[in-house]
C-alpha cells in the first residue's frame, strides 16, 4: 500500500484545517508503518503569493518518516481570477442553488484554471498514476485537486473539507466529486451538505472519517468541578463563545438574542464571555464580556469553568471547539441549520439546537433554568461521543480501514466462472430507454457477464437509444442458448418459442395491469390485458422456475399455479446518478415554490387524474405549488386527453407540468428539486420511482395498494382511501412544511433504500441462476426423455395406422 497525499500547501506549522489534517495524517500513517508521500507545491502557504516558488522543488525526507515532493508553481492570470472571484462572492447566500453554476461556464473555467497552478505536479500525477495505490486529495477547492482528481481516475480519494460557500456550486467541483472513487468527510453534516449539493451518488462512496482533536491531559482529568474559578471570570455561571467574532460566524445573532434574554430576565446572573480575534459589529449587551484573543492556557481555563459552549455559526464543516468543550464535559448549543454541528449534537444528546433569534433567546432562558446535574449529564453525553469521534487513534483506524483495507470494488465470484462459457440469454418483447424492466434486464446481463457467463439480450423491437445493448430476436437464438431468462408481462409472439425451449429457463414476472382500469379509455387494450392474465395461467406448467420482482407479483404467479415462485427485486444503484443534473431545470424549479412530483407512465391504473384533483385541494394551502407529472405521454391516448381536460377544467394549467419524454439528467433534476413524491396509483407491480425518490431524499406519501406497501416497507406513510381529498391535501402539506415529520420519513426511507442496492440483489440473482441449472438438469432431462418416448410411441402407431 503506497499512499500519496496531494495538497496545495504543506508544512508542520501551517494554519488551516485541511493543512493540519494533512500533516497529522501523513505523520500518523508513517508512524504506523505505511509508505506515505506528500505531493505539494513550492508555494509556502495559502497566505503567500500563489505564483512564487518560496521553497525548492524536489524530493525530501522528513524526520517523521515520510517523503515530500514539491513541484514548482507557474504564473497565473490574477486579474481574470480576481474578477471571477469577486463575482462569486457577490452572490447572496440565498441565491445559491445546488446544481446551478453561480457564474457563467466560462468564468467558472477561468476560476479553476487560474487558481494556484502547477503543471509539473499535474504531469507527475498523470504519469505516476499507477505507482501509488491511492491518492488522498484535500481540500476540494484548488487547481491541483480539481485537475488531479480527474488525472488519477479511480485511484482518487477526495477529502473535501466542504463548506456551504459559493465556490462549492461551481460545475467543476461537482465533477471532481463525481469522478473521485471515494470521499472522506469530517462529519455527517459535511456529507449531508455534499448530498444536498451533488445528489444521491455521494453516500455510496463516502466514509465519515472525522478529525482528531488534541487535548492536553489536564482536560481529561478536569472532570466537572466548578471549584476555583479564575478571578477574571468572576463568580456565577457563564456561557462561552470561542472563535473569531465576525458576522460570518453569526455573532450579531448571538448578541441580540442574549440582549433579549436580559430584558426577559434582568436579574439573572448568567453571563456571556466571548474569546477570540476580531471585533463584534454590534454593541455588547449587559452581562457580556469580550476577553479578546486568549492564550491556549487561558482558553483551557475558560472551557473548564464555563456552564456551556455556544456555537451560533452556520458555516462549519467540523467544529473543533465543540469537540474540545465536550472533552471538558461541557454541553454545547449550536445552530440548527448547520448540519456539521447539529447532527453530532443530536446524535450525542450533548446539547441544544436553536435556529432563529427567538429560539436562541428562549434557549438562554432554558439554560438559565437548567440545574447543574442536568447540564453535567448533557456534558457527559458529549464527552463520551467526542472520546470516540475525535480521538486521533480512532480516526486513524478509520483512515486505515477506508484506505488500506478497502477491498476491490467487485470481487470475482469464486467458482462461478464456468468453462467453457455457458450462455444465459434474456428474451423480452422490447427494450427501451429509461424503462424499469429494460434497466433490470441490462443489469442482469452485466451481473451474469461479471460472473463469467456469456449473456445477451434478444428483443423483438429495438429502441434506437439502446440499440447497442440488445440484438434482434430469432428462433435460433433461443435454441442456441444454454439457458434462457424470459421477462413476461403480457404475452407476445416470442412467448410460444420460450414455451418450446427445453433447456433450463426461468420466467421473470413483471405483472399485468388488470384490464378493468382501461375499460373506460381503451377497451381494446383492456381485452389484451384480460387475455394476458388468462394466458398466464397456461404458462405455469411450462416454467418450473419463476420469480416476481415483488412478493405481490410472486403471489400472483402462485395463484396461477406456478410452482414455488421466488422474488427477485429490481436493483437500484445510486452510482448511476454520478452526473450533473440539467442546470436549466435546477434553476427554474428551485425558486421557492413547492414541487410535487409523480413519475410513471400515463395510465389509468396510475391514477394521475386523482392526483390532479387532490392537488387542486392542495393549492388552497400552498397557492404557488407545482405538480410535475413525469412520464411518456401519448397525446392520442384517451386517458391523456382526459387528464388534459381535467387540468383545464380545474384551472390548473399554470400549476401542472407535463415535461414529456425526458433524459436522465432532466429526470435527476426533477427528483433533486422535488419536495414531495405523491402517488395515487392503484396498481403497481413494484414501483421503481418510490426507491428512486428515497435516494433523492424526497419524502413519499402513497395510496396503499398492490405492491406499494411492500416496496415502502418500514418507510411507508400511506392512506387507505381517497374519499377525503381535503384530508389528503392536508397530509401532503404537513409533509412538505413540517421539518420534523419530513425528517422522520426521510430517515426511514434512507434505511429502506439500502435493500435494493446491487450488492443486496446480486446474491438473490446468483441463487436464482444456481437453481436454474439444478432445476435445469431435471427439466433438461425430462422433456428430452419425454420427446423420445413421444416419438417412439407415436411413430409406430402412425405407421401401423397407415398400414392398416
Amino acid at each position: 500500500m503506497k499512499l500519496a497525499i496531494v495538497i496545495p500547501w504543506f508544512g508542520r506549522d501551517l494554519k488551516g484545517g485541511a493543512e493540519q489534517q494533512a500533516w497529522q495524517v501523513a505523520t500518523r500513517l508513517a508512524k504506523r508503518g505505511h509508505s506515505v508521500e506528500v505531493l505539494t507545491t513550492c508555494c509556502r502557504s495559502h497566505q503567500d503569493d500563489w505564483s512564487s516558488n518560496h521553497l525548492p522543488a524536489g524530493e525530501s525526507e522528513t524526520p517523521e518518516g515520510f517523503t515530500i515532493r514539491r513541484f514548482p508553481v507557474v504564473l497565473r492570470y490574477r486579474g481574470a481570477f480576481d474578477a471571477v472571484c469577486s463575482n462569486l462572492l457577490r452572490q447572496p447566500p440565498d441565491a445559491l442553488k445546488p446544481g446551478v453554476s453561480p457564474v457563467t461556464d466560462e468564468e467558472a473555467q477561468t476560476f479553476v484554471d487560474e487558481l494556484i497552478r502547477s503543471p509539473a505536479l499535474q504531469t507527475f500525477l498523470q504519469q505516476k498514476r499507477l505507482a501509488y495505490d491511492a491518492f488522498l486529495f484535500l481540500p476540494y477547492l484548488y487547481g491541483p485537486i480539481i485537475h488531479g482528481v480527474a488525472a488519477v481516475g479511480d485511484r482518487a480519494v477526495l477529502q473535501p473539507c466542504l463548506h456551504d460557500e459559493a465556490y462549492a456550486y461551481l460545475p467543476q467541483i461537482a465533477d471532481s466529486f463525481y469522478q473521485a472513487n471515494r470521499l472522506f468527510f469530517n462529519s455527517e453534516g459535511e456529507q449531508e451538505l455534499a448530498v444536498r449539493l451533488f445528489g444521491p451518488c455521494i453516500p455510496a462512496k463516502s466514509h465519515i472519517i472525522g478529525e482528531g482533536v488534541e487535548v492536553t491531559d489536564r482536560a481529561t482529568q478536569a472532570g466537572h468541578s466548578r471549584n476555583g474559578s479564575p478571578t477574571e471570570t468572576g463568580n456565577g455561571r457563564y456561557l462561552l463563545y470561542l472563535g473569531r467574532k465576525d458576522d460570518g460566524k453569526n455573532i450579531p445573532l448571538l448578541l441580540r438574542a442574549f440582549a433579549r434574554f436580559r430584558t426577559v430576565r434582568p436579574n439573572s446572573s448568567l453571563r456571556l464571555i466571548l474569546a477570540g480575534a476580531g471585533e463584534a459589529s454590534v454593541p455588547l449587551p449587559a452581562q457580556s464580556v469580550d476577553s479578546g484573543l486568549v492564550s491556549e492556557k487561558e482558553k483551557e481555563e475558560l472551557l473548564r469553568h464555563c456552564a456551556a459552549l455556544v456555537q451560533p455559526s452556520e458555516k462549519e464543516s467540523f467544529s473543533r471547539v465543540m469537540m474540545e468543550a465536550w472533552l471538558y464535559g461541557k454541553p454545547v448549543a449550536v445552530h440548527r441549520r448547520c448540519a456539521a454541528t447539529a447532527i453530532p449534537v443530536k446524535a450525542a444528546k450533548g446539547g441544544w439546537l436553536a435556529d432563529s433569534e427567538d429560539q436562541w433567546a428562549s434557549l438562554f432562558v432554558e439554560l438559565d433554568r437548567t440545574a447543574d446535574p442536568a447540564m453535567r449529564q448533557l456534558g457527559e453525553n458529549g464527552r463520551r461521543y467526542a472520546a470516540v469521534a475525535a480521538d486521533w487513534e480512532v480516526v486513524m483506524d478509520r483512515y486505515e480501514a477506508a484506505l488500506v483495507l478497502s477491498e476491490p470494488k467487485s470481487p470475482p465470484r469464486a467458482g462461478a466462472a464456468p468453462s467453457p462459457r455457458v450462455s444465459i440469454n434474456q428474451f423480452l418483447p422490447n427494450l427501451s430507454y429509461g424503462d424499469a424492466i429494460s434497466n433490470h434486464a441490462i443489469w442482469i446481463r452485466d451481473q451474469l457477464r461479471a460472473a463469467g457467463y456469456d449473456s445477451r439480450i434478444y428483443v423483438q423491437y429495438i429502441d434506437p437509444q439502446v440499440a447497442d445493448q440488445c440484438e434482434l430476436f430469432t428462433v435460433e437464438k433461443v435454441q442456441r442458448s444454454d439457458a434462457a431468462i424470459y421477462h413476461h408481462s403480457i404475452g407476445t409472439e416470442i412467448t410460444p418459442h420460450l414455451i418450446e425451449f427445453s433447456g433450463p429457463k426461468c420466467l421473470i414476472y413483471h405483472n399485468i395491469t388488470p384490464g378493468e382500469f382501461f375499460e373506460a379509455y381503451r377497451p381494446e387494450f383492456a381485452q389484451i390485458l384480460y387475455k394476458g392474465r388468462h394466458d398466464l395461467q397456461q404458462l405455469g406448467q411450462h416454467f418450473k422456475l419463476s420469480v416476481g420482482d415483488s412478493a405481490f407479483n410472486a403471489d400472483e404467479l402462485a395463484r396461477d399455479r406456478f410452482p414455488k415462485p421466488g422474488v427477485l427485486p429490481l436493483a437500484i444503484d445510486p452510482c448511476k446518478w454520478a452526473f450533473r443534473p440539467d442546470p436549466a431545470i435546477m434553476n427554474q424549479l428551485q425558486d421557492g415554490r413547492t414541487n410535487i412530483l409523480f413519475v410513471g407512465r400515463f395510465a389509468p391504473n396510475k391514477k394521475q387524474d386523482d392526483l390532479i384533483v387532490a392537488f387542486s385541494h392542495y393549492l388552497q394551502l400552498d397557492p404557488g405549488a407545482r405538480l410535475i407529472l413525469v412520464g411518456k405521454p401519448e397525446f392520442a391516448d384517451p386517458y391523456v386527453i382526459h387528464l388534459g381536460d381535467l387540468v383545464g377544467h380545474l384551472g390548473l394549467t399554470d400549476s401542472v407540468l407535463l415535461p414529456g419524454s425526458i433524459a436522465d439528467a432532466q429526470l435527476a433534476a426533477y427528483y433533486r428539486s422535488a419536495h414531495l413524491f405523491w402517488s395515487m396509483s392503484e396498481h403497481e407491480g413494484f414501483c421503481v420511482p418510490l426507491i428512486e425518490s428515497m435516494w433523492f431524499d424526497v419524502p413519499i406519501i402513497a395510496f396503499k395498494s398492490s405492491a406499494v406497501p411492500e416496496t415502502l416497507a418500514e418507510a411507508g406513510l400511506m392512506f387507505t382511501d381517497k374519499k377525503d381529498m381535503p384530508g389528503l391535501a392536508a397530509l401532503a402539506h404537513l409533509v412538505v412544511t413540517d421539518p420534523e415529520l419530513r425528517e422522520k420519513l426521510v430517515l426511514a426511507q434512507r434505511k429502506r433504500r439500502l435493500e435494493f442496492l446491487p450488492e443486496k440483489v446480486s446474491p438473490v440473482l446468483m441463487e436464482m441462476v444456481g437453481r436454474l441449472f439444478s432445476s435445469g438438469k431435471m427439466t433438461q432431462g425430462r422433456p428430452r426423455r419425454g420427446a423420445k418416448s413421444n416419438s417412439t410411441n407415436t411413430r409406430p402407431v402412425k405407421a401401423r395406422a397407415r398400414r392398416a
Partner: protein
C-alpha cells in the same frame, strides 16, 4: 385513513393535525368528464341584425259554458215535463213556468257573458295584431332603409372607384414628373461640380490675395485669444489639482491597477508566446521526423512486418502444438518449411497492396458505385447485414459504415485485419468458405467480394457461390468484382502484377457461373476504362483498339437470390 410503518411517526397526532388543516379546505368536486374525447360545442356568434320579435300576448281561451247552458236547459226541460205524470185534474195546480223561465234566463245570461268575453278576446287579439303589425312595419322600414342605403351606396361606390382610377393615373403622372425632375437635377449637379472645380482653382490662384491674408491674420488673432483662454483654464485646473491631493493619489492607484493588469496581460502573453514557439518548433521537428519515418518505412516497413508476422505464426504454431502435444519442445525456426506457416505472406501482401492497389480514398470512391445496389436489395439492415469476403484494408466496409449500413468482413490476412480493427470495423479472420459455411441460411443481405475470385481455384470459386446463395436472404444480392481480361493490357500484363492471382475470370463465364447457382437477373458491369492516351475516336479501327487497350479494367458480376425461394 392514514397508516404508517415508520415507528417514529405518531399517527393519531398526525391525523389530528390533518383534521385541523383540512377544515380550512373547500371541497372541490371532480367534474365527471367522459373518457372518450368529447367534441366541443361550437357557439356561433349571435346574429343580432333583426330586432327580436315582440312576444305575442295571446289571451287565455274563453271558458266554454256550453255544458252549463245545456244542463240548465235540460233541467228546464225536466221541470216542464214534471206535469206529465201528475194526474190530469191536478195538473192545473202544477202548471208553473217560473223555474223554466229562470233557467232560460240564466242560460241566456251566461251566453251573453260568454259573448262579452269573446268580444274582449277579439279586442285583445286585435291589439296583438297591432303590435305585430307595428313590428312588421318597423321591419319593413328597416328593409326599405337597407335598400335605400344600397341605392345611395351603389353610385357612391361607383364614383369612388372612378376616383380611385383617377387618383392612380394622377399618381402615375406625378411619378413621371418626379422622374423627369430627378433627371434634370442630375444634369444640374454636373454643372455644380464644374462650378466647384472652378472655385477651387480660383482659390488656389488667390492664395497671395491681401484680403485673404487679412482674414488669415484675423483667424490667427482668434486662435491666439483661444490659446490665452486655454492657459487660463490650465491655471484654474492646476489650482483645482493643488486643492485636491487625494484625487491625484486615486489617479496613481488607478495607474498602478492598470499596471498590474498590464503585467497580468504580459504574463499571459509571454506564456502564450513561449508555448506557441514551443509548439511551432515541436511541430517542425515532428514534421521532419514523420518525413524521415515515412522514408524509412517505405524501405524497411515491409521487411519488418514480414519478420513480425513470421514470428507471430511461429508462436501461434508453437502454442497450438503445445496444446495438442504436451511434451513437444519449441520447434526451431530454421527447421520450419515455408509451407507450414500460414499467414507468413500477410505482411508482404499488405505492403504489396499499399504499393499497387491504390490510395484508400480512391478505392473508397470507386466502390461507391455499389451503394445503390446494396440499397436496392435492402441489405445492410441489422437483420440482413452485408458480408465482404476478402475485405482487405476495409475500404468498402468503412464506406458502408459511413452510410450506417450493417456490415462485416472476413479475410485471411491478419495484418490487413489489424488495420480494419483500428478503424473500428467488424471483421473476422478466417477462410471465406469456412466462414460462410458457419453462417445460417437466410442470414445475409448481401455478399460482396472485390478482387477475390481471380485468386481462387475453380472448385473453390464454385463452393463460394454455392455457399453465397445459401446464406443470402431471398432478394439478397451477390457482387463480385474482378479484373477485366477483355482489356488486353489488363489480361496480358497488369493481371500479373499480383503474384497471388491464379487466372483471370472471363466476365461472361462469371455471369454463367452465377446463373447456374440459381442467381436471378445476373448482370455484368464494366468499370474503370482508361481515360488517357486514347486513340482518336473518329475511325472505326481506333475504336476497336481503344476497346482492346483502353477499355474497362474491371468488371463486376451482380446477381440476386430469387425472392420467391
Amino acid at each position: 385513513m392514514i397508516e404508517t410503518t415508520v415507528p417514529e411517526i405518531n399517527v393519531s397526532v398526525l391525523m389530528e393535525q390533518v383534521r385541523l388543516k383540512a377544515a380550512s379546505i373547500q371541497r372541490i368536486e371532480a367534474p365527471k368528464l367522459g373518457a372518450v374525447a368529447r367534441l366541443k360545442r361550437v357557439d356561433l356568434p349571435p346574429l343580432d341584425l333583426i330586432p327580436p320579435q315582440p312576444p305575442l300576448l295571446l289571451p287565455e281561451p274563453v271558458p266554454a259554458r256550453k255544458e252549463r247552458i245545456l244542463a240548465m236547459l235540460d233541467q228546464a226541460w225536466k221541470r216542464t215535463a214534471v206535469r206529465k205524470w201528475i194526474p190530469k185534474p191536478l195538473r192545473v195546480f202544477f202548471r208553473n213556468q217560473e223555474d223554466y223561465n229562470r233557467a232560460l234566463l240564466e242560460s241566456v245570461a251566461s251566453l251573453a257573458k260568454a259573448n262579452a268575453e269573446l268580444a274582449n278576446r277579439v279586442e285583445q287579439l286585435t291589439r296583438c295584431f297591432d303590435v305585430e303589425q307595428a313590428w312588421l312595419a318597423q321591419m319593413h322600414e328597416r328593409a326599405s332603409g337597407h335598400s335605400k342605403w344600397m341605392e345611395t351606396a351603389g353610385p357612391l361606390l361607383g364614383s369612388a372607384s372612378v376616383d380611385l382610377q383617377l387618383f392612380r393615373e394622377e399618381a402615375r403622372e406625378q411619378l413621371n414628373a418626379a422622374k423627369l425632375k430627378l433627371d434634370k437635377f442630375a444634369e444640374r449637379q454636373e454643372g455644380v461640380e464644374e462650378i466647384v472645380r472652378k472655385l477651387n482653382s480660383e482659390m488656389e490662384g488667390a492664395s497671395n490675395n491681401s484680403a485673404l491674408g487679412k482674414s488669415v491674420e484675423a483667424i490667427v488673432g482668434e486662435v491666439q485669444t483661444l490659446l490665452r483662454e486655454r492657459e487660463r483654464m490650465a491655471e484654474r485646473l492646476s489650482q483645482l489639482g493643488d486643492g485636491n491631493a487625494t484625487l491625484r493619489a486615486d489617479l496613481q492607484a488607478d495607474l498602478a491597477r492598470v499596471g498590474e493588469h498590464l503585467r497580468n496581460l504580459q504574463v499571459v502573453h509571454d506564456r502564450n508566446d513561449s508555448e506557441l514557439s514551443r509548439v511551432a518548433t515541436s511541430a517542425l521537428a515532428l514534421q521532419r521526423t514523420i518525413a524521415a519515418l515515412e522514408e524509412r518505412q517505405v524501405s524497411e516497413g515491409a521487411y519488418f512486418r514480414m519478420e513480425l508476422s513470421q514470428q507471430a505464426s511461429l508462436l501461434r504454431q508453437w502454442f497450438a502444438s503445445r496444446g495438442s502435444k504436451e511434451n513437444q519442445k519449441l520447434p526451431a525456426a530454421r527447421k520450419e518449411t515455408p509451407e507450414d506457416m500460414p499467414g507468413r505472406l500477410d505482411a508482404f501482401y499488405v505492403s504489396f497492396e499499399d504499393r499497387f492497389r491504390g490510395p484508400r480514398k480512391e478505392i473508397k470512391k470507386r466502390v461507391e458505385f455499389y451503394l445503390p445496389v446494396i440499397r436496392k436489395a435492402r441489405a445492410g439492415r441489422p437483420e440482413a447485414p452485408v458480408l465482404d469476403v476478402g475485405c482487405g484494408r476495409g475500404e468498402w466496409l468503412e464506406l458502408l459504415k459511413d452510410h450506417k449500413l450493417e456490415a462485416s468482413g472476413v479475410d485471411i490476412n491478419s495484418a490487413m485485419l489489424a488495420q480494419c480493427r483500428e478503424r473500428g470495423l467488424k471483421v473476422a479472420q478466417g477462410d471465406a468458405i469456412a466462414h460462410l459455411r458457419a453462417l445460417p441460411e437466410h442470414s445475409l443481405g448481401a455478399v460482396t467480394g472485390f478482387h477475390i475470385i481471380e485468386h481462387l481455384a475453380l472448385e473453390i470459386l464454385m463452393d463460394l457461390l454455392a455457399e453465397t446463395i445459401r446464406v443470402l436472404v431471398p432478394g439478397g444480392v451477390a457482387i463480385f468484382e474482378s479484373p477485366n481480361c477483355k482489356n488486353l493490357v489488363v489480361g496480358a500484363t497488369n493481371f500479373n502484377i499480383d503474384p497471388t492471382h491464379r487466372n483471370p475470370v472471363f466476365p461472361e463465364t462469371a455471369q454463367f457461373m452465377l446463373s447456374i447457382h440459381g442467381f436471378e437477373d445476373v448482370q455484368l458491369k464494366y468499370l474503370a476504362p482508361v481515360e488517357a492516351n486514347r486513340f482518336p475516336d473518329k475511325d472505326p479501327q481506333s475504336a476497336v483498339l481503344n476497346e482492346l487497350l483502353y477499355g474497362p479494367q474491371d468488371f463486376a458480376v451482380i446477381g440476386n437470390k430469387p425472392s420467391s425461394s
